[in-house]
């Protein structure tokens, strides 16, 4: 792991263990290099260097305030007006963290689902279709088809197929969150970022959501922030452990949970702090 000099001075004593994914079948789709995030003068993320494997689920874990959500939101530049992000975010050979990038186009490739379900105050159908219409898909049949496949992929189709014109605000929390996933995948992204998507859901909805994600990784590369250790263990291939704005350990999920190399990681995953 390469550390720039000024960082090294501060982190000499810091115990870290970073193993980037190296799986020929799942090449790197997104990587960050020398990423720093500042809120005003306060540094929230210092030097996060991670590579994310395609068509896999990567979990970001760590105590509250460790910077995992900030890190995730930087990946599709949702922090643009809130924080200053320096460093490179490489996506298909292009640094998407530079001003010349069309950030709106980029976000269609790197979709995001948030902590609290946020369906729009529109019908279920329009929640999915209206962003497509804005980008020129106006053919009714084509829209119908995308709405149907997205809802099916998000495992919501069977419950709502007769109510597509009803308000999305009437859906339950779990359904609303799956609608948000359907909405995100309808614009055909490569990467799906999820920020604690199950934290507002009951256990049944959570487990349905996890099944959905396991299905989705065939077509999408997924990065998920979670507070739930079991969840990370159940669904992810790789896990990054964040603490105080740094990635302290990154490895396959099984290594992180069964044989963590860093003491703090070990304490955290075994529930001794955080």
């Amino acid at each position: 792991m390469f550390l720039s000099n000024d960082v090294q001075e501060n982190t000499e004593m810091l115990e870290r263990h970073i193993v980037q994914p190296a799986d020929a079948e799942h090449p790197t789709i997104l990587s960050t290099e020398d990423l720093h995030v500042y809120y005003g003068k306060k540094e929230a993320i210092s030097e996060g260097d991670l590579r994310f494997a395609s068509n896999q689920i990567t979990a970001l874990i760590g105590p509250s305030g460790s910077g995992k959500s900030t890190f995730l939101r930087s990946l599709n530049r949702m922090n643009d007006r809130i924080a200053t992000v320096t460093g490179r975010i490489m996506y298909r050979g292009v640094d998407i963290n530079q001003p010349s990038i069309d950030v709106y186009e980029m976000r269609r490739r790197v979709g995001m689902v948030f902590q609290r379900p946020n369906p729009f105050a529109k019908s279920i159908y329009d929640n999915i279709a209206f962003a497509l219409r804005l980008r020129g898909t106006t053919d009714k049949h084509e829209l119908d088809e995308i709405v149907e496949t997205s809802l099916k992929q998000a495992a919501l189709w069977n419950q709502v197929k007769d109510d597509l014109n009803k308000s999305a605000l009437a859906l339950s929390g779990g359904q609303a969150q799956r609608l948000c996933i359907a909405r995100a995948i309808a614009v055909k992204p490569d990467i799906l970022l999820l920020d604690e998507p199950a934290s507002a859901l009951d256990p049944v909805s959570t487990s349905q959501l996890e099944d959905t994600l396991l299905e989705l990784k065939q077509n999408y590369s997924i990065i998920i922030v979670t507070h739930n250790m079991q969840q990370a263990g159940r669904i992810s291939e790789y896990t990054a452990f964040f603490n105080q704005g740094r990635v302290l350990e990154y490895d396959t999920t099984s290594h992180i949970f069964t044989n963590p190399q860093v003491q703090i990681t070990s304490d955290y995953v075994s529930g001794n702090f955080g």
Binding site: N118, F120, L134, N165
Partner: protein, 295 residues
């Protein structure tokens, strides 16, 4: 020392008393206006022109003027207020510029309407030579209305959760698309309510109009809709006494024998119109919300 339970009872009792008093005063006022005014109302009263010296005049022209002025004032002030509110809430960063704008809006909204009227007189009537006219009145009402409408639209935007904006942006929508396609549709019912309520205030405004739209109501020819003719109802350059100004004028210098009755009747019409605005605001707001949110 009272125990908490008695204390609570005393507090609730006091609050009920205070609330009851407020309701009582309002009902008494409303009741007085309606009881003394409703008997004066008739089709003739609502449609006939006013008479200066004789009995039996109506308020037809004034009522029409009130609505015409209201519509003009709203047409001018709504787009400006909407733009300002969108800028302030959706785009502007919190810095000294926006703080200054907000402070200015706050000061303007507490400006006495007679001051707005005198400003309108000096600026629109005299300086811009618009004379006592509907247009001068509409501009004065715009100044009167703008701060409150901007505030109310900004508040409507504020009620839409931030997560909605993030949802739009995360789908690759631009900020403008997010505002126009996600935020505004969701806020329309609440914006509409604000617009109608402010319409009620504008409708009942007198002081800002006395020196701008004037105190005379020339007879109108309701068959002539050419806005360039002086007797056309659409002509924006004619002086136009509104209902509220009429009430003020009759009470201060009315010399017709039935001045008191006309004033009572006009007041009742005014109150009824404003009540109508309020109920319409609630009804339309709810209807529209249902329409917009469930296709």
């Amino acid at each position: 020392m009272m125990n908490p339970k008695t204390q609570n009872k005393v507090a609730i009792g006091t609050l009920y008393g205070v609330a009851g008093l407020v309701v009582l005063i309002l009902l008494a006022l409303l009741g007085y206006i309606l009881v003394s005014g409703l008997p004066q109302l008739s089709w003739h009263f609502l449609t006939a022109p006013a008479k200066a010296f004789l009995k039996g005049g109506g308020v037809g022209v004034q009522l029409y003027n009130s609505f015409y002025l209201l519509i003009l004032a709203m047409l001018i002030s709504f787009p400006i207020a909407l733009g300002a509110a969108i800028y302030l809430y959706e785009y502007a960063k919190d810095n000294w510029v926006t703080t200054t704008i907000r402070t200015a809006i706050e000061i303007l909204s507490s400006l006495p309407s007679v001051v707005v009227g005198l400003f309108g007189f000096l600026f629109f009537v005299v300086k811009l030579r618009l004379g006592f006219s509907i247009l001068s009145g509409a501009f004065a009402l715009t100044f009167f209305n703008l701060p409150l409408l901007t505030r109310s639209i900004e508040d409507s935007l504020r009620t839409i959760d931030t997560t909605q904006r993030e949802g739009g942006l995360a789908l690759g929508l631009s900020r403008w698309e997010t505002v126009t396609r996600v935020i505004l549709p969701a806020a329309v019912p609440s914006i509409l309510t604000g617009v109608i309520l402010s319409a009620g205030r504008v409708f009942g405004e007198a002081a800002a109009l006395i020196y701008t739209a004037g105190q005379s109501a020339p007879a109108l020819d309701f068959t002539d809709w050419n806005p360039f003719n002086i007797s056309s109802p659409l002509n924006p350059m004619r002086p136009a006494e509104t209902l509220a100004v009429h009430i003020w004028k009759i009470n201060s210098e009315g010399i017709m024998p039935d001045a008191k009755a006309i004033s009572s009747g006009s007041s009742a019409v005014l109150v009824l119109a404003i009540l109508l605005f309020n109920f319409a605001a609630r009804y339309l707001g709810k209807r529209l919300y249902k329409r917009l949110t469930s296709a």
